[in-house]
């Protein structure tokens, strides 16, 4: 089975793996995500109704309310958080959210993860080394 390796910058350290959930739309916290269920609830979002729980979330970055970190903080306490997050655009919302979620997080990749990772791929994240290993579902 073929694997692809991406390199990026550690945001939050740790090692984790799981099934990828990929969106090209930025993600909201407060007002767009329900920490009790882990689901996206933003009405016009392509992931609306889909749970982020235990996924490796691959997304452009965060948008919306300053409650972003608090809602993903609550997701950690409720056990509905993603297993790891990979994103492109560093903002205070997503960086603080990653820190308080306490899951491995990587950004600043050598190639765009949105072009390479598809929903359903298996993704191993070694955030301490900044290495992401992707096994394609179709391979």
């Amino acid at each position: 089975m073929s694997t692809i390796v991406l390199h990026g910058r550690k945001v939050v350290g740790g090692v984790s793996e799981g099934e990828a959930l990929v969106t090209r739309e930025t993600v909201s916290g407060w007002g767009g995500f329900d920490p009790r269920t882990g689901k996206v609830v933003e009405t016009r979002h392509e992931l609306c109704g889909i749970s982020l729980k235990d996924k490796v979330l691959v997304f452009p970055g965060a948008k919306g309310s300053s409650g972003w970190s608090q809602y993903f903080h609550l997701a950690r306490l409720a056990g509905t958080a993603p297993k790891a997050i990979l994103y492109n655009r560093t903002t205070t919302k997503v960086a603080l959210g990653a820190v308080v979620m306490r899951v491995p997080a990587v950004t600043d990749f050598d190639s765009d993860p949105l072009d390479i990772i598809e929903t359903g791929d298996w993704v191993k994240v070694d955030a301490d080394r900044g290495v992401v290993e992707i096994t394609k579902k179709s391979a």
């Binding site: 609830v41 016009r44 965060a62 948008k63 300053s66 608090q70 903002t91 820190v99």
Partner: protein, 425 residues
């Protein structure tokens, strides 16, 4: 990250366990951002009281435990010291003075009152509004701040010229007791210049126009910094408040430039720091209509139950306008009307007779929170009408209601008739 001797001493526990935890969070956060250092801040706006519906579940553990977990990201319970920076509280979970909102929530009222007492005694000023700049916290140009509340952050940066990123509950908690925040993003002058030029081809004048423009631009530029050409009518605080709240809801806009209006924008060239725009986007009739339709995309029924004004919290001028529009009239038996304003301005509304006019018509003037934050609306609300693009964006996602967006006058007419007859004019 490079720390000063003072910061290193705080990290090493020289100012006690809470400050140690706060500095540990700021270092983890700064490293996550790729920041090189911290910057002193003496103006913090955050959230402390266990106000939100989910955090209330943790309230039985006490306010030090709430502060440790949600304001410092510390699993270990530490005792909150006096704040070191000037710190203000943003919106809360409930309006504890108004029974219309409290519908059997006596326990929540008690938790909030205890929280106010606890955090007030630590030096947190209970402004209890999403608009601290309407009730006395008005930072000056260049002042480094650590603010939450996306609608206040964009106002602070663009309209006041002060400097803050969109902070979160944990980072403002840490900033309040250390007087530090990562030196990143909009704290750095080079990052405050515009990236996108928006060529506005339609008149933008009343509050509804500004709300629609903000909602459209947020989707267009997301986290980037727009500068505007073609905005001829002079805006005021109310219009820019609504514009910014909308742009920070559909996107993540934290800063913008309007030549001749915003203080860091002497001219269009100046807005871009002498560089060319990355891209130029047009806001014309089509873009305006699309944004309006998106704002109304959840609305199906023209029978309206609930009219919500005051997101972000109304200025006294807006409360006065609602009062005048309602004078001598009576709400439909099928509708409720709630007008939100900061508690300090409610005092002014009471003295000016506005509260009495709104109440005589059957409406209520409420403070401290909003339906999106509290998740409290009149019983059995299915269809909401609001003059706020931000509330029209969030309420359907958070509570499952339908939402109409329109002008203040359209909303007041809906309150009186029970029917939505608003539209894009």
């Amino acid at each position: 990250m490079k720390l000063t001797d003072d910061e290193q001493r705080m990290l090493d526990g020289g100012e006690g366990p809470a400050v140690h935890r706060a500095m540990d969070l700021l270092v983890r956060y700064g490293e996550a951002l790729g920041a090189e250092r911290l910057v002193p801040v003496n103006n913090v706006c955050g959230t402390f009281v266990a106000a939100g519906p989910m955090i209330r579940e943790f309230a039985s553990k006490g306010n030090d435990a709430i502060f440790s977990e949600f304001n410092l990201d510390s699993t270990e319970r530490v005792e909150m010291p006096q704040v070191k920076a000037y710190t203000c509280h943003l919106v809360m979970g409930i309006d504890s003075k108004h029974p219309e909102m409290n519908q059997g929530l006596e326990e929540t009222v008690r938790i909030q009152k205890e929280g106010e007492k606890f955090f007030g005694a630590k030096g947190v000023n209970m402004l209890a509004t999403c608009t601290p700049y309407q009730v006395g916290n008005v930072p000056v140009m260049g002042e480094h701040c650590a603010w939450m509340e996306s609608s206040a952050v964009i106002y602070c940066n663009a309209v006041l010229g002060a400097r803050t990123n969109t902070e979160g509950r944990e980072s403002t908690g840490a900033a309040s007791i250390t007087g530090r925040i990562p030196y990143f993003g909009l704290h750095i002058p080079e990052n405050r210049v515009a990236t996108h030029l928006i060529d506005v081809k339609v008149p933008v004048d009343d509050m509804m126009d500004w709300g629609i423009l903000g909602y459209a631009i947020g989707e267009m530029v997301e986290e980037d910094i727009p500068a505007f050409r073609g905005l001829v009518a002079q805006p005021n605080m109310i219009k820019l408040k609504h514009f910014g709240a909308a742009a920070a809801s559909s996107g993540g806009v934290e800063m913008y430039h309007i030549p001749g209006v915003t203080p860091e924008t002497r001219s269009e060239e100046y807005a871009f720091g002498g560089r060319a725009p990355l891209t130029t986007l047009v806001y014309g009739e089509a873009e305006r209509r699309i944004a309006y339709e998106k704002l109304n995309s959840t609305a199906k029924s023209h029978d309206v139950d609930f009219i919500m004004l005051g997101c972000p919290h109304n200025s006294i001028e807006q409360v006065g306008l609602a009062a005048r529009l309602l004078e001598g009239r009576r709400l439909s038996a099928n509708t409720s009307l709630w007008v939100f304003t900061p508690r300090a301005l409610k005092e002014v509304a009471d003295r000016s007779g506005y509260t009495a006019l709104i109440e005589a018509a059957g409406g209520h003037v409420l403070t401290d929170t909003c339906p999106a934050i509290s998740r409290i609306m009149p019983k059995d609300t299915k269809v909401v009408a609001t003059d706020s693009a931000k509330q029209a964006h969030y309420l359907p996602a958070i509570t499952g209601v339908q939402a109409w967006f329109g002008s203040v006058a359209d909303c007041v007419e809906a309150a009186v008739s029970g029917r939505w007859n608003g539209g894009l004019r």
